[in-house]
Symmetry: C2
Subunit: 125 residues, 2 copies
């Protein structure tokens, strides 16, 4: 099997080597082994890193993701956290949608200053 070194993982994942070491310290990834001192990674680490990037984008903290990654279906506390998070995401999606619509409107309206546009304010209130 062809293992990757940290520079390859960094390049393919778009993360800095320092970020990979940081993630390792926090338990998000684990090298397959070492070549001397140097970390070697299984290619699967890239899928793991995609998952991490996705979760980060959805607003999870590093610590939350670390807990996720070791979770089993019997972890009811985790399921509960997930359900809470899903509901939070519902709210976040609604907020972002309103803000996006406000921005699209603001890009064409003529109020001075923009933030005093009644339509803009109505959209975000």
């Amino acid at each position: 099997m062809t293992l990757l070194d940290i520079a390859e993982v960094a390049e393919k994942s778009g993360l800095a080597p320092s970020a990979l070491r940081f993630y390792e310290k926090r338990g998000l990834v684990e090298p397959a082994g070492r070549n001397g001192l140097r970390r070697t990674y299984h290619p699967d680490v890239l899928r793991r890193l995609d998952l991490v990037a996705c979760a980060r984008g959805a607003g999870f903290t590093i610590a939350e993701i670390a807990r996720f990654l070791v979770a089993t279906p019997s972890d009811d506390a985790l399921r509960a956290r997930m359900a809470v998070k899903a509901t939070e995401l519902d709210d976040a999606i609604a907020r972002l949608t309103r803000m996006r619509d406000s921005l699209r409107h603001a890009a064409t309206c003529d109020h001075v200053p923009l933030v005093e546009c009644p339509d803009f304010k109505a959209a975000i209130a």
Copy 2:
């Protein structure tokens, strides 16, 4: 006119007094005046703070919001930033929606560990 003191603004806005002073330093709000050393605020500041809270929720930084608040319709650079931000929000909304659906699924599936569930991975990939 009935001006508010910082404690009243803090209570009505849900922000800490320290946050109000911080926002002032960054140009997001301005007291109407002073009563001795003490800040007095026009009630309108509350609408301003709602706007700030909303923008923060949509992912704008304090510095970005500060630029927004002084912008006029002739500020084409600002309009451009808004358009970019709207597109970013489209992406964010899509990501969050997928993540939310993944979480809802994860709350009921039986894979060990959860992150290895093919449905889960398919949803977030």
